[in-house]
Amino acid sequence: MSAAPKIPERAAIRTSRWALWLPLALFAGFIVLVLIGLLRPASHDVASQFVGKPLPEFSLRAAADNRPGLARANMIGGKPRLLNVFASWCAPCAAEAPQLAQLAAAGVEIDGVAIRDHKPELAAFLARYGNPYTRIGADDVSAVQMAIGSSGAPETFIIDAQGVIRYQHIGEIRTEHVPMLLARLQEAGK
């Protein structure tokens, strides 16, 4: 040991009272921040770049035996309709089936794009959860999906009579979304 074991006063760490509350205050800030992020439903509605754009040119072969395939030409004229991006392997797609059936029953024409699907699985899916679709196109490489700015399944687009995308709904359609979609379809028809 060396000679003078005297320790300078200032080296000791002093914590003031308010500093003890600082972590709690910071944490409260974190909670507030996260609450804002969590409870703002609007933040998940990614404003689609494709709303207001016309549908791109495409033509898909039939994905199911009892429904014709889908091309851009099929979606022009008449009333506004829904374009539903789905797949038999997608769980939320099964969850939205009753809502699609409800929309179909309300007289809405629904065209489907099946993403990377196989015929037997798709047939089983439609047999199990119902088939609200007028036409179903098979999009084996997600080409149409990409071209209309959809990055997942399910997604549902409102297409007006001129073939212009009017609305993009991301995620499954829940019961509370049905009136909203009907209202938007009506608006697209004006």
Binding site: I7, L20, P23, F30, L35, H44, W89, H118, G171
Partner: protein, 656 residues
């Protein structure tokens, strides 16, 4: 229930075990709380057994979940949504925790087992502190049990069994990843022990070197698993994602890094508390923060609040539920800290030039790094609250973390050489001449070899000097007499240098080539000559793939074969690129097969990454150092306990 076969009872058994475990956690909390009062001693006797049985029941519930996944019981919703009968057995088992509900069950299982383990073996602390600790552990567990049972029940049954399962994310079908989450979870949840210890000490106001010695092995244990988990996760992302990067600063990675930073700070401050009875309140604070970071990280990942691209990936109810739990536990613990820490004295003092000061500096810098990572991770959320959409990436994280890490590493060369309490810098100066020379020399070399890359130069310069300096604490000692914890420290610090060297080399010297080649064509990348021989289709259990046969020769030596694949899974349908790696002592050749171009050529991505493997080798060394330190501490504690009981036994025999 007409066809309730023997197999399907397992799910119900698991659910029952889960409920019982939750009930026992409530009992553990009440009994532990009552035992703290003066008249409650009688109830105290049940706390330890209850904690053990609670852990065993949670384990039984988890085993039941694994069992329903192995038998692909499609009447269980979770199995139907995440498994498939055609999946290999390993991934059926891994599927049990490769999803939200299963991973939360794994969380409470580890938490229950850790609590039970502490209850069974920890006898060093005053019984009052132990009661408060176990009550605290139960209190935290209860929240997660409630969350599991009411908001994410893994055993939910379908009214009608599904026809077939929907499969596991193909990216997760990889042997490395099958065991990566459990490793990380042991680390995350192991920190709950430190959290409960801190709560216990705050309640009873008993903070002492003995407390730190009792807490240290638990912190070290959790920290070892975290280190290994992060290292393994980084290597998985490196070879499985096919981007050639090893760290992406993505929220999921940050969620694992933040508890690690806090735990690293904690185990160093624990050392100060154990040896010198200083930094008392600060150590408790870190004990609370480390596990809080685990919970916050898990929340950020599980709620999908940061990574959400799709509304359906986010379940706001679940997110809100976990957030409430966080508010109760972290908020409560920080409140307790604010109320109590003022009455816990700071402890012993020390001089500026002392081992303690070095460790305080280490703690401040680690906390600073933690703050940088936390702010960067939350920034997108903050920006969104103000109406902007931003993403924060390496241009922010790399320089700002370096701002804290570089000074820390410089001090790391000196700190371990200093004596406790008061030292004289002149005493250690002579030992530092060589590291200083190495530092200056390697700065020169690095500037020449990697001109203009600031961070790489710093890393390349620091690593060799740090590697040498990390061995200095062994100087002048007889190696056969050096205690295990010192070996552990030296090894871990050396590992930091090794890892840093790998990172710096990777960012300074990596050569990348993106080419389109016909079979038979050759490409040069760094010292390698890579020839594409052929493309052949092959099939696996639940995928088909195109496989490229590549011949790679290093500076004209005999060629080796690499087989990168482009795989297509069909349940669920997804494309993955299986990279193929060739490892030499001085680096790795990394190859990825891309798509076919129109004219019969194939896209090929090639990297030559000198010394990249050092990154993970360093990680393993760090963990190994932790293991040595833990073994050393546990062994000396056991020796102390045995000595004490021998003395007690002799006294008894002598009738004293």
């Amino acid at each position: 229930m007409q066809d309730c076969g023997s197999g399907q009872v397992i799910a119900e058994f698991g659910l029952a075990a889960l409920w019982l475990a939750a009930a026992l956690a409530v009992l553990q909390l009440i009994a532990g709380g009552v035992a703290l009062s003066r008249r409650g001693d009688a109830l105290g006797a049940v706390v330890r057994p209850v904690a053990i049985v609670q852990g065993v029941l949670a384990l039984a519930a988890f085993a039941a979940l694994v069992a329903v996944f192995i038998s692909t019981d499609l009447s269980v919703k979770l199995v139907a949504a995440n498994s498939h009968s055609a999946k290999p057995l390993l991934y059926k088992i891994a599927g049990a925790w490769g999803n939200h509900e299963g991973s939360m069950l794994l969380w409470v299982t580890i938490m229950g087992l850790a609590g039970g383990f502490v209850a069974a073996v920890e006898r060093r602390l005053p019984e009052r502190t132990m009661m408060a600790t176990l009550a605290g552990q139960a209190f935290v567990s209860i929240g997660f049990y409630v969350f599991l049972l009411f908001a994410s029940n893994p055993f939910t049954r379908l009214a009608e069994p599904a026809a077939e399962g929907q499969g596991l994310n193909p990216l997760l079908q990889d042997p490395g990843l099958a065991f990566h989450p459990p490793t990380l979870y042991v680390g995350y949840v192991g920190l709950s022990i430190a959290f409960s210890f801190a709560i216990g000490a705050l309640i009873t106001r008993e903070v002492s070197p003995a407390f730190a010695r009792a807490m240290r092995p638990w912190v070290l244990g959790a920290w070892i698993f975290l280190t290994l988990g992060i290292t393994a996760g980084s290597y998985w992302a490196y070879y499985e994602l096919g981007w050639g990067g090893w760290w992406f600063w993505d929220p999921v990675e940050n969620a694992s890094l933040m508890p690690w930073l806090a735990a690293t700070a904690l185990l160093h401050s624990c050392g100060v508390l154990a040896a010198r009875n200083a930094l008392r309140a600060w150590t408790l604070m870190l004990g609370v923060v480390a596990f809080s970071m685990s919970m916050i990280g898990t929340f950020l990942v599980r709620s999908g609040i940061l990574t959400s691209v799709h509304a359906f990936a986010v379940d706001p109810r679940r997110g809100t539920f976990i957030l409430v739990l966080l508010a109760i536990y972290i908020g409560g613990a920080l409140m307790l800290f604010a109320l109590r820490a003022g009455s816990i004295s700071e402890g012993e003092r020390f001089a500026v030039t002392s081992r303690e000061s070095g460790l305080v500096f280490n703690n401040v810098m680690l906390s600073g790094t933690l703050g940088i990572v936390l702010i960067g991770t939350l920034y997108p959320l903050l920006a969104e609250a103000m109406g902007m959409k931003v993403s924060v990436g390496p241009p922010y994280f790399n320089p700002f973390t370096a701002l804290f890490v570089v000074p820390m590493l410089l001090v790391l060369m000196v700190g371990p050489l200093l004596r406790w309490r008061l030292d004289n810098f002149g005493r250690v100066r002579s030992g530092l001449i060589i590291p200083a020379l190495i530092l200056v020399l390697s700065i020169g070399i690095a500037i020449v070899m990697a001109p203009g890359k600031m961070l790489s130069i710093i890393g390349l310069a620091l690593a060799p000097a740090l590697a040498f300096a990390s061995l200095l604490p062994l100087r002048g000692r007889r190696l056969s007499r050096v205690k295990l914890p010192l070996w552990g420290m030296v090894l871990a610090h050396f590992g930091v240098a090794v890892s840093l060297f790998g990172m710096a080399c990777d960012s300074a010297f990596t050569v990348e080539k993106l080419v389109a080649v016909r079979p038979g064509e050759a490409v040069r990348v760094g010292p390698w000559q890579v020839t594409m021989k052929s493309i052949t289709p092959i099939a696996g259990p639940n995928w088909t793939a195109l496989e490229g046969d590549l011949q790679a020769s290093y500076n004209g030596t005999a060629p080796s074969l690499l087989r990168p694949q482009s795989r297509s899974f069909w349940t669920p349908p997804q494309q993955t690129n299986e990279s193929a790696l060739l490892t030499r002592w001085n680096g790795q050749l990394y190859t990825v097969l891309g798509d076919e171009a129109a004219d019969g050529r194939w896209q090929l991505r090639l990297w030559w990454k000198p010394f990249v493997t050092m990154i993970w080798l360093g990680g393993v060394l760090i963990a190994l150092g932790g293991l040595l330190a833990m073994l050393g501490h546990v062994a000396s504690d056991v020796r102390r306990v045995i000595a004490r009981s021998k003395i007690a036994f002799r006294r008894e025999r002598q009738g004293r």
